[in-house]
Symmetry: none
């Protein structure tokens, strides 16, 4: 049930309930959730409010709507091969590789929206005697949320591990824009390029389940990475 006097808006409360039911499987993948009309009755709110909640979940990709048919659950809309946030580190370990990070730069910076810890790392794998770098990651971590984050040595520790274990914060969503970039000197050196090339860059934010920003991120992908994308259409 919803609490009309809560500071949390009704649509956000409903959103949470629906998300829960989708993720626990009470609403099954591909099947319809109750109609908007039903939801207005069940929760005793207007359709506008129901639509706001559903709209957000559609935006999020958890639901889709079909005119005249209904609102349906969509799980696993997008998968990604290299773009997994449970991390880079775990991903490579599973493949039997030895992940390596080299910190290129770290310092406090002030962006318009507050104070951040800037962390720039080259990340890759150990190959025999050599290191093959795959990405250059630049993170801007809000110090308001992660006070003392500068104490950690991120050439050894995983950023997301620290967020989870030390701050009890769980990265959940990311929204990035993919762009082409032309290699600069840093990229040339890290990726061992012999001349100027086009590379891919992903730039965006990582948030927790409430949509709070955890990190501004910018990742440049080296030439050894394929950016594979699978989508499901309806």
């Amino acid at each position: 049930m919803l609490n009309k006097h809560d500071v949390v808006p009704l649509y956000a409360q409903l959103e949470r309930i629906l998300r829960e039911k989708i993720l626990t499987g009470e609403f099954k993948d591909g099947e319809p959730i109750p109609s908007e009309a039903e939801l207005t009755k069940t929760y005793n709110i207007t359709r506008t409010t129901v639509r706001k909640a559903i709209g957000n979940l559609v935006q999020e990709g958890l639901l889709y709507q079909a005119h005249g048919k209904g609102t349906f659950v969509r799980l696993q809309e997008i998968k990604y091969s290299i773009w997994n946030f449970e991390g880079f580190t775990d991903y490579l370990r599973k493949k039997g590789e030895h992940p390596v990070s080299r910190v290129l730069e770290q310092k406090g910076v002030r962006l318009d929206s507050g104070d951040y810890w800037k962390l720039k790392r080259a990340r890759g794998v150990q190959k025999n005697e050599k290191v093959l770098f795959l990405t250059i990651d630049t993170s801007y971590i809000p110090l308001r949320k992660f006070a003392g984050i500068d104490r950690y040595d991120f050439s050894r520790e995983s950023l997301y591990d620290v967020m989870r274990k030390e701050y009890h914060v769980y990265p959940r969503n990311s929204e990035v824009v993919i762009q082409p970039v032309t290699s600069d000197d840093t990229m040339k050196e890290i990726f061992d390029l012999d001349n100027v090339r086009s590379l891919l860059k992903a730039k965006g934010i990582v948030t927790d389940e409430r949509g709070d920003e955890l990190e501004k991120v910018e990742i440049v992908y080296g030439p050894n990475i394929e950016f594979k994308l699978m989508t499901k259409m309806r």
Copy 2:
């Protein structure tokens, strides 16, 4: 002014007007646009409709809102964001745009796996007297599955509509690799580039629900497209 009897929804019409004013600089970067109350008066529509239009532009990244202050123009110039293949025509129509296709090349070709119909199109939107091209799509359609596909005029018809309505085949999944490419002469002409640039290319296959290949596809995205990607961890 808005046309209440147009098939294009009022919010989409308003959206288009606002987008226009932002992009032409009538609403300047960082400055506020008229308040929601003013817009309701100016266009003689309700605030709900105004908010729907503004909401979409906020989503698109062209505007941001600050509680108690106003609605402001955002510096970055994001025009279109496309996250899957299904959306092109519908996505643009919803925005009150007029999608345009120009067939650049079409012929039968033999690939190692069989006979295909090659269809290369530039796709974009009508802007006043001009056409702004957004993508160059190259499709290879298996003739074994789509005999007679060469009869259709794909400058007018949607490829997927034909697949659905004439062949009763439904595109469902896609698997593509995203790569950077350097512009060639065709791209230079279609996208009206003044010099060589890095662009994005998606290359892969589209399948139906049984995993049967419907199309090999290669899409080059012009500089007016941002490739926005949202991921969720579960």
